[in-house]
């Protein structure tokens, strides 16, 4: 059975339009699933719903989020928070804003271990040092005493990765973790995440808009459009032959430096029309049901 199993998850703006329309997907233990789509497709809503960090204006309107077989949505808030905190983690998008500027690095890695999981400070710090070494940060001791602003963007992202792996989570949500980075740094970070994920056997829900990144990191992917899953495929299958017209168009629009003539084809209007019709039909069905 999958570690994470999302079934018919619907999310909407409070008193507003749906943002996710009965999304279902599975992430097996140790598996990396990519979530791709254009902005507004709802890809990062899924990760937020799992972690319980949906914006205040957004609510879950239906479905189940089974984590290790337990539906998170039915748990009391405190219990859900504890369970998620113990077995899941987030690698956020922007390393510049995801570290608290007034706390030193060390406590930002060890806090969950000490405060939530009840480790001793010494154990937690030893763990943090080991992790910082694992993410190839030179002189972990010094970095732990540093403040975020003393570190470069790439270093901060490494800290965030180390922090995400601190409690040996079963699942990590990586929400566009390299979008803010230079392409050369991106490569290092992606390799790092991939390597850590493989070594620790962690399942990864990898949210990105970049099909190139997906092709390097993920085993399976879900293509989203307008809050619906357009396609759920193994990565190799997808790039060989996308099944859905929309995902095919998305692939065609992605530029490839190796082939200047290819790519840069905007998604054809016909495809957009077709997907819109699909959404309309879905909403009509939802209204009836």
């Amino acid at each position: 059975m999958s570690f994470l199993s999302i079934r018919n998850l619907s999310v909407r703006l409070k008193k507003g339009p749906p943002l996710l329309r009965r999304v279902s997907l599975e992430v097996a233990a140790g598996e990396v699933r990519g979530l791709v789509g254009e902005s507004g497709a709802g890809k990062s809503m899924i990760g937020k719903a799992v972690l319980g960090i949906l914006p205040p204006a957004v609510e879950v309107s239906g479905g189940e989020i089974l984590l290790d077989g337990v539906d998170l949505l039915r748990l009391p808030l405190a219990e859900r928070r504890r369970r998620v905190g113990a077995s899941c983690a987030l690698i956020p998008q922007d390393p510049l804003t995801a570290l608290n500027p007034s706390h030193r690095i060390g406590p930002q890695i060890t806090d969950r271990l000490v405060d939530i999981l009840g480790w001793t400070r010494a154990d937690a710090e030893a763990r943090a040092r080991a992790l910082l070494a694992e993410v190839q940060i030179p002189d972990p001791e010094r970095v732990m005493r540093s403040y975020p602003h003393e570190l470069s963007g790439g270093m901060r992202q490494r800290v965030l990765i180390a922090s995400a792996f601190a409690a040996e989570p079963k699942l990590i949500v990586a929400d566009e973790p390299t979008t803010a980075l230079d392409v050369t740094v991106q490569k290092q970070i992606l390799k790092l995440i991939k390597g850590m994920q493989e070594r620790h056997g962690t399942a990864l829900l990898f949210v990105t808009h970049d099909l190139g990144v997906v092709s390097k990191v993920c085993q399976r992917l879900s293509v989203l459009y307008a809050g619906m899953v357009a396609e759920d495929s193994a990565v190799a299958d997808f790039f060989a032959a996308p099944r859905h017209a929309y995902s095919a168009a998305l692939l065609a629009a992605t530029p490839k430096y190796t082939d200047p003539a290819a790519g840069l084809n905007p998604v054809p209007d016909a495809v957009i029309e077709a997907v819109r019709a699909e959404v309309a039909a879905f909403d009509a069905g939802a209204a009836r049901g």
Binding site: R81, G85, P92, A98, N100, S102, R112, L160
Partner: protein, 336 residues
């Protein structure tokens, strides 16, 4: 390095500011109508009496000469002698300064506590009726000036439900073993909690009256700042770690949200110290402000000069402290 630079620069500007204040206050209070001699002339005095008394207090000298004498004295630590109290100005103002400082600090502590609690509660329950209630209370606190709060408090806790003292700083019948004028601190230091309780019962209302408007400002600003901070990535990240909402506010957001509030609180704190003048009068609290009003009424020129200079010094020192505190709290500045 950054802090040292700020400190040096500020010491320099403080000196310049104080010199400017000294010049301005000296000449302004001699230009406005009313002079100390007119204030002490009884019926029947003649022109000769005016001249005689003016000469006695040195007021017959040209302004520039008077200023020269005063400045020379000030540089040597002699701020002159008060006309009404016939005591050295420096002794008088230094004797009253601790009372005002204690009152201001108590008010600041209360304002920070009240404003902080309001902001944190409002943030914790944002979007609910609790936040609305806090906003309304904040608005009310802000729209009423401190001395009116003083009157309201006197009626509430002085008359209707008499739990606090209305006037003074300490019950006159108590024997005070103090060697300093810092009663509040010294009573704690000497473990005389009976005296401390009496002093607090005297300070409570004036301090609260001063604190309420500032608490409202702190509450409003800090809440706004907290709410913005609560949307930042590191706060979201902390939530995923399993922390509860209150813990997230206190641990992750508060310190960062407090920084922008801090500078403003510094400015407002100087207003609060200014507010002690009228509040001390209302509560007959024996501080600088109460003395300042008497000094102005009696046109006690040397005393007015001394008090204004001291207030100016307090203002600049407070601003300096706020800047330093800002630097200490903000790691970015500290390491720059």
């Amino acid at each position: 390095m950054a802090i040292l630079r700020v400190l040096l620069l500020r010491l320099l500007t403080t000196a310049i500011t104080l010199a400017g204040v000294a010049v301005i206050v000296f000449f302004v209070i001699r230009v406005v109508p009313g002079n100390p001699i007119a204030m002490m002339l009884p019926p029947g005095a003649t022109e000769e009496d005016i001249a005689r008394l003016s000469a006695l207090y040195g007021l017959d000298q040209p302004l520039a000469t008077q200023f020269g004498i005063w400045v020379t004295g000030v540089i040597q630590g002699d701020f002159g002698t008060s006309i009404t109290t016939r005591q050295p100005v420096l002794d008088l103002v230094l004797g009253r300064l601790p009372a005002t400082l204690e009152l201001s600090i108590m008010a600041l502590v209360m304002a920070v506590a009240l404003g902080g609690i309001a902001a944190i509660t409002g943030t914790r329950f944002r979007g609910t009726r609790t936040e609305g209630t806090i906003d309304v209370a904040n608005g009310m606190a802000l729209s009423v000036p401190d001395f009116l709060w003083g009157l309201v408090l006197i009626l509430l806790f002085g008359v209707l439900l008499p739990v606090f003292h209305i006037s003074g700083r300490v019950t006159p019948s108590l024997d005070l073993p103090f060697t300093t004028e810092f009663y509040l601190f010294e009573s704690l230091f000497r473990l005389r909690f009976d005296l401390w309780a009496d002093i607090v019962a005297h300070m409570f209302m004036p301090a609260l009256a001063l604190a309420i408007p500032l608490a409202a400002i702190i509450g409003q600003l800090l809440k706004q700042s907290l709410k913005e901070t609560m949307n930042l990535d590191y706060v979201t990240l902390a939530r995923t770690k399993g922390y509860g909402e209150t813990r997230v506010i206190l641990r992750e957001a508060l310190r960062n949200a407090a920084l922008p509030t801090l500078t403003l609180v510094g400015v407002q704190f100087t207003f609060l110290i200014g507010g002690t003048v009228i509040i001390e009068r209302l509560f007959s609290y024996e501080g600088l402000g109460n003395m300042a009003i008497d000094a102005v009424i009696n046109r006690d020129l040397p005393l007015i000069q001394g008090i204004v200079l001291l207030f100016a010094l307090i203002f600049t020192v407070v601003n300096l402290l706020v800047d330093l505190l800002y630097a200490v709290l903000n790691p970015r500045l500290r390491h720059a």
